[in-house]
């Protein structure tokens, strides 16, 4: 059976155009873009061409793009890069629903003496931008709010936050990894100073990422060495990867609206279908103001990893924010932040779609899921009739 990938925010397939564009840089055109001899010429030209394409996708200028190895590196570079470049400002404002690659650097900065103010989020996962003004201080170095959480998909009020940040003269970073390629992004219109993206969520290769840094905004590098990326990211370029991300960015820009429409249809059919066929199940995040390729739920009385494993046996891939599906054995901080009862958070499942998904995959999924849920519910001591409070405390 052909496997169904409903986990596109982990990884999308590579487009054939992308693969083809990469191939020369894995065979005849091997060379270091920094080399001033003939071997450096094609790679150098290729990465500058890719830089313009990536910039085009988010309406930035090419010189505002720094190539990195992934979205996590972009987030780390943005946060630590800004904090270290503004050593006198020791305060950062952040949302609590950030990706781990934002949360963990923030925790480290906190240990190093930075103070973090956490914005509130409502039960749909929307960050409360109105309280932002009251949190901004003279020593605020940075505001960081994700454009959309990969766990709940809610689109955040980035424009509003950007406007306040600009008025107050505070630098604003957004992790847009989950958005780029399926939601239109215009860094100028959004008033963002830094924006993180990753190639492997818009049909480019893994191991590629970029950070947009607005002209005039100073950051410190994480990796020091050569003068690659204006000295802000030393290390030999991943030429083939960068070229691939460039082509993926160009196609993403051209096909953005078409892809969006296509994904919205799959998303809405799946959300409607699940809510109709599975009792005691609720959507997490906002129903309409969400990523076009994202559907997430809590299925009550059962546990997410068990659901995913049964789906996996049916060749359907998804993900979960439950305690048991995490290596760190912690329930999702995002679900916790939006006030979901940790008992229901155990039944978290997240499905993210891509242009390679077909409507019949959604239909098959909607047939496969209900019996899995029934089976696991039959095994569970938690039921609708039982008072779940008796299972809340450690025995």
């Amino acid at each position: 059976m052909k496997p169904t990938n409903f986990d596109h925010l982990s990884c999308t397939p590579i487009l054939s155009e992308v693969r083809e564009a990469m191939m020369p840089f894995l065979s005849e055109d091997i060379g270091n873009p920094l080399s001033r001899h003939i071997f450096g010429d094609r790679p150098r030209k290729a990465i500058e061409d890719a830089r313009a394409k990536v910039a085009g996708l988010i309406s930035a200028s090419p010189e505002e793009i720094i190539f990195t190895s992934c979205g996590s590196e972009s987030n780390n570079l943005a946060l630590k890069g800004i904090a270290y470049a503004n050593a006198k400002r020791r305060h950062i404002i952040a949302s609590p629903i950030e990706h781990h690659s934002v949360i963990h650097p923030l925790k480290r900065l906190e240990k190093q003496g930075y103070e973090i103010s956490w914005l509130r989020v409502d039960e749909k996962g929307r960050v409360s931008w109105k309280e932002l003004t009251s949190l901004i201080r003279n020593d605020t170095a940075l505001i960081t709010v994700t454009s959309a959480s990969n766990e709940i998909g809610t689109l955040e009020p980035i424009k509003e936050i950007g406007r306040i940040a600009q008025e107050k003269g505070v630098i604003f970073h957004t992790d847009a990894v989950a958005c780029v390629g399926s939601v239109p992004i215009d860094v100028k219109e959004m008033n963002v100073d830094l924006l993180s993206i990753a190639g492997n969520v818009f049909y480019g290769p893994q191991g590629t990422g970029a950070l947009y840094v607005k002209s005039g905004v100073m950051i410190f590098p994480l990796i020091e060495g050569g003068i690659q990326e204006g000295g802000l990211r030393a290390g030999t370029h991943n030429v083939a990867g960068i070229v691939g991300m460039g082509v993926a960015a160009q196609i993403a820009k051209e096909k953005l609206l078409e892809r969006r429409e296509y994904l919205l249809n799959l998303r809405d059919k799946l959300i409607k279908g699940i809510l109709k066929t599975i009792p005691d199940c609720f959507l997490t995040g906002d129903q309409t103001n969400r990523l076009p390729n994202h559907a997430s739920f809590c299925i009550k009385f059962i546990e997410g990893e068990s659901i995913l494993l049964h789906l996996n046996l049916k060749c359907i891939a998804g993900t979960s924010g439950s305690t048991c599906s995490s290596e760190a054995l912690k329930v999702s901080h995002v679900l916790e932040s939006i006030g979901i009862d940790p008992i229901w958070a155990q039944g978290s499942v997240v499905f993210t779609f891509g242009i390679d998904n077909r409507l019949d995959e959604v239909e098959l999924f909607l047939k496969e899921l209900p019996p899995i849920v029934d089976r696991l519910r039959m095994m569970s001591p938690l039921t609708k009739a039982n008072n779940i409070e008796q299972f809340r405390y450690k025995k």
Binding site: H100, N150, E151, F301, I302, E303, E305, S306, L308, L309, H310, N312, L313, T319, S320, G321, S322, T323, C324, S325, S326, E327, A328, L329, V331, S332, V334, P342, I343, Q346, V350, M378, M379, S380, P381, L382, I388, F391, R392, Y393, K394, K395
Partner: protein, 133 residues
């Protein structure tokens, strides 16, 4: 989201017990019931035992939790059936994990939970027997 999934780390035996759990259900007139874990942390195990002539005559379970929790519940009920009460100390968490062909490191606590459920069920049995007397 959760940092890294681990389905592929499960042995065939774990998957077998997870997909076809043995001894699933409740025993209405159980002689001992053990309930451990908590739903907030992702697992609750209920173990029911029926005891006759100091032997485990029947054992059943209900479990809320991940694959490892369900598989260890299924395995431990099978391992204790027919055993005398004095033999039950052989059924340790290591023994259950071994019988399943091993568990991923982060899932070993599920086998501890199974052993705890057994201890709790036996404790409940003795308590009920003593109050009867």
């Amino acid at each position: 989201m959760s940092e890294g999934h681990q389905f592929s780390q499960y042995s065939e035996k774990v998957i077998d017990h997870f997909t076809n759990p043995r001894n699933l259900g409740e025993i209405k007139d159980a002689d001992g019931v053990g309930e451990v874990g908590n739903a907030k942390c992702g697992d609750v195990m209920q173990l029911f035992i029926k005891v006759k002539d100091d032997k485990i005559e029947d054992a059943k379970f209900k479990t809320f939790g991940c694959c490892a929790a369900i598989a260890t519940s299924s395995m431990i009920t099978g391992m204790i059936k027919g055993k005398s009460l004095s033999q039950l100390n052989e059924v340790t968490n290591q023994a259950v994990a071994e019988a399943l062909g091993g568990l991923p490191k982060t899932k070993l606590h599920c086998s501890v939970l199974a052993e705890d459920a057994l201890k709790a069920a036996i404790g409940d049995y003795y308590q009920k027997r003593n109050t009867k007397k």
